[in-house]
């Protein structure tokens, strides 16, 4: 049964392992995946602990619909207190790890303490072992998986692993599976590294019973057609997320030279169609018919002949847009390096671009860079810095500490040049012209983030009736909505709606590309209600699912407040308000965000959530959601 998967508590200090069923009541309140992880995180992590210390808890989960007939039902969620921000640590990755973990009988892992020596977990058909990891400690992401498969004698074992960046506690190290499925943000790789936990290997052959098999099959057929018939899915299926670069750079919505420019000009060599020339096929995650992941072989240089997957929109930003480079090889190699080191491509690119601006301003000198010419446009320097950050060498050691700590170490007002929120760097998009996207990154619960609440469809200038249809369900809304992405009207509701949408889909373990993220006709609450019923038998209306999302998002907010978050953390750096965009299409040129209007958007955003003017959930909101008492440790 999809609802009978267990939760395991693993204490790496004592070696004690305990498994328990997950009560139906919990499922109805939090569903699973990210939502339930947030609840567990709030309960099991004491406030104020050191995120790299043994008191932090790593949570690993599969969403409730993973492995069932729910289009791309493949996603793993990892959580804990973030070593990068000190707030909610939360990250999501695709691939095949989560379904395998469910077939092995488990939905949630709660990993506490710290192992004395490097270990990895081996989970198979209801059993969990802690195994000696000395064979794989020190190996990169790809090699680790091959060695563990060899050791366990089964090529079908799926493995979640950290790279050497996680071992070295690079604060934005990621967790990965296969070649490039990455749980990148908030430094969950460092969390596992701090526990001496190198990897989690899973292999399962246990049934997940589908509640209504014929209906589930028929409905999955229908929902897949709904997804693949959308133009955006078809484009993604051929070009991957690189197509987004084409769309956004053309307008002037990307960050270049660390915010100095908002478009990468004369960059034909790295347009999606050009990068596509290196592509040798597409692949994807479990159950997915969009298959948005490119396959390529590095064509030349020291890594020639290496097979790799990607690149993605974020890699183009990190290795071309932000450092003002235009060489496809830099993107292809940069992507490979962060994949093997196990580092967040986004954070890596942003940190390097920031360092480049500091070098330009004379705040960093060639003495600080050990002679490396860290000017914008220097492809070799970009690649060299990736190595230095992963290996914590010289300036890399400082950058590996993440934006705020690095700025503190460097001093000299370097913090003024940081593009971050709550201590996490922003995606390479430039939000000065796009108010809803700006509001999303300012308020996202894990810091600057394009995946907590980005209303990407706001970029499509959809007519008001279309917007009205999307945003008036499952909860009614009759406030203003605007088709212009530069307006301030209606955007708080859009951001709120998408927050709930992504929270829900992260609880279910379905891919965001199968939601109203990039496409207006793609599934959301209505469809998930049916998917839940056919696959698990659970009867939840679209409104019930929305309420679960609200409940879980409030717990994230409570966790952050407990760790010291205040209203002033829901804001953007001064550059968004003081420096106008220089280039791009006319409607995007010479734009800044307006402080007064932005403040009003935040006020309205808080109102929609049922939070007070400081962004603290009101008692009646918590009561309505049933989380007004200190969680009773039901789990």
């Amino acid at each position: 049964m999809a609802l009978n998967r267990k939760i395991a508590y693993i204490d790496l200090s004592s070696g004690k392992i305990e498994t328990r069923p997950i009560p139906l009541e919990i499922r109805k309140m939090f569903l699973g995946g990210r939502g339930l992880d947030m609840y567990l995180m709030y309960n099991h992590i004491k406030p104020g602990i050191d995120p790299l210390g043994p008191d932090n808890v790593a949570l690993v989960s599969a969403g409730l619909l993973v492995g069932t007939l729910a289009s791309a039902s493949a996603r793993t969620h990892v959580a804990g207190k973030s070593p990068l921000t000190g707030f909610v640590g939360s990250t999501n990755m695709g691939g095949f790890f989560a379904p395998e973990m469910r077939w092995a009988g488990f939905d949630h892992l709660v990993i506490k303490g710290k192992a004395e020596k490097p270990v990895y977990l081996w989970i198979h058909n209801g059993q969990i072992e802690i195994r000696d990891g000395s064979n794989v400690w020190g190996k990169d992401v790809h090699e680790t998986q091959e060695v563990i498969r060899e050791e366990l004698g089964d090529s079908d074992v799926k493995i979640l692993t950290i790279g050497t960046a996680g071992e070295r506690l690079v604060r934005f190290a990621n967790v990965m599976t296969e070649l490039k499925n990455a749980g990148g943000r908030t430094g969950m790789g460092a969390l596992l590294g701090s526990k001496n936990l190198k990897a989690i290997a899973v292999r399962g052959t246990m049934d997940i019973k589908i509640a209504h098999p014929s209906e589930a099959l028929e409905y999955n057929r229908k929902i897949i057609r709904q997804i693949t018939s959308a133009k955006v899915s078809q484009t993604q299926g051929r070009l991957g997320t690189n197509f987004i670069w084409g769309a956004t750079n053309t307008q002037g919505l990307v960050r270049v030279r660390n915010f100095q420019l908002n478009q990468l000009e004369d960059s034909d060599d790295i347009e999606p169609e050009k990068l596509d020339e290196f592509n040798i096929g597409m692949t994807g995650c479990f159950g997915c018919q969009v298959h948005c992941r490119g396959k390529y072989i590095i064509p030349s240089g020291p890594y020639a002949g290496v097979y790799e997957e990607g690149p993605e929109y974020t890699s183009i930003g990190a290795f071309a847009g932000e450092p003002d480079c235009r060489n496809p090889l830099t993107i292809l190699v940069g992507n490979h390096l962060v994949n093997t080191y196990g580092m967040d491509t986004l954070e890596t690119g942003s940190m390097i671009a920031w360092a480049m601006e500091l070098y330009e301003e004379g705040i960093l000198t060639s003495k600080d860079t050990d002679g490396l010419d860290l000017r914008f446009g220097n492809d070799e320097a970009v690649i060299e810095m990736v190595h230095r950050i992963a290996n914590r060498k010289g300036l890399g050691d400082i950058l590996a500490e993440g934006p705020l700590r690095a700025a503190q170490k460097i001093g000299k007002n370097s913090i003024k040049y940081l593009i971050h929120v709550k201590g996490m760097s922003n995606l390479h998009s430039d939000e000065r012209a796009t108010t809803s996207l700006a509001l999303g990154i300012a308020t996202g619960s894990r810091g600057s983030d394009h995946l907590r609440s980005r209303p990407a469809i706001d970029l499509y200038h959809l007519p008001e009736p279309v917007l009205r249809k999307i945003y008036s369900q499952p909860v009614p809304y009759d406030g203003p909505l605007s088709s212009d992405y530069r307006d301030y009207e209606g955007k708080p509701w859009q951001v709120f709606w998408h927050e709930m949408c992504y929270e829900a889909v992260d609880c279910l373990g379905i891919c965001k590309y199968h939601t109203t993220f990039l496409g207006a006709t793609l599934p959301n609450f209505e469809e998930w209600s049916k998917l839940l019923y056919y696959n698990t038998g659970l009867e939840m209306s679209p409104l019930d699912i929305w309420t679960v999302a609200e409940r879980c998002y409030n717990i994230e907010r409570l966790f952050n407040i407990r760790e010291g978050l205040t209203r002033k953390d829901d804001w953007l750096s001064d550059r968004y308000f003081d420096e106008p965009t220089k280039i791009g299409i006319p409607s995007v040129r010479n734009r800044t965000l307006d402080r007064e209007k932005f403040k009003k958007m935040i006020d309205e955003y808080y109102e929609h959530h049922g939070w007070d003017e400081n962004g603290v959930p009101r008692p009646e909101t918590l009561r309505r959601l049933g989380i007004d008492k200190e969680p009773s440790h039901m789990l």
Partner: protein, 164 residues
């Protein structure tokens, strides 16, 4: 004309939806172990090969079966199993050169593809065209055409330079 299941491994993206729908259709569960199709992968090289029963015209599994439980259904051009006759000796598993027959430990029986009785779910769900259920005359047409196109291009370039 009867249809047959045609596999184009170059189009497979390795999503394994076929394994999922097969197991759900036959056994009502999500469990690749109980699927009659398997995507064999070399993940680190990005190679995925769908492996399924080829419903051989002269099937070794039929030849080796001691109770004649395995027979050929000429109407649907497939290999059938009569579970009333099958004794579960698993000789067919040994005999199949493709490893297409397996043993389901939960149902305690040997399993192999039965083409879902004429409407294979795997092909229905596979949007990339890696699995297609097509007329026998179509089985090689797409590949033939793709190869011919490449030849056409070469010929065109050659004659263009030749005729100056």
């Amino acid at each position: 004309m009867q249809k047959m299941l045609v596999v184009d491994y170059e189009k497979c993206t390795g999503c394994r939806l076929c394994e999922l729908v097969c197991a759900v259709k036959h056994e009502g569960v999500s469990n690749p172990l109980r699927a009659r199709i398997r995507i064999v992968k070399w993940e680190m090289k990005g190679i995925m090969v769908p492996m399924i029963c080829n419903h051989c015209e002269s099937a070794p599994c039929i030849a080796v079966c001691p109770t004649n439980a395995r027979t050929r259904d000429e109407e649907q051009r497939k290999v059938n199993v009569d579970y009333d006759k099958c004794i579960g000796c698993r000789m067919c598993i040994v005999a199949c050169p493709f490893g297409a027959i397996s043993f389901d430990p939960y149902a305690s029986k040997i399993i192999s593809c039965d083409l879902c009785d004429g409407d294979p779910r795997c092909a229905d769900f596979c949007e990339t065209g890696a699995l297609r259920y097509v007329e026998a005359s179509e089985s090689n047409k797409q590949r033939q055409r793709e190869a011919a196109e490449k030849l056409y291009e070469s010929i065109r370039k050659f004659t263009a330079t030749y005729t100056g």
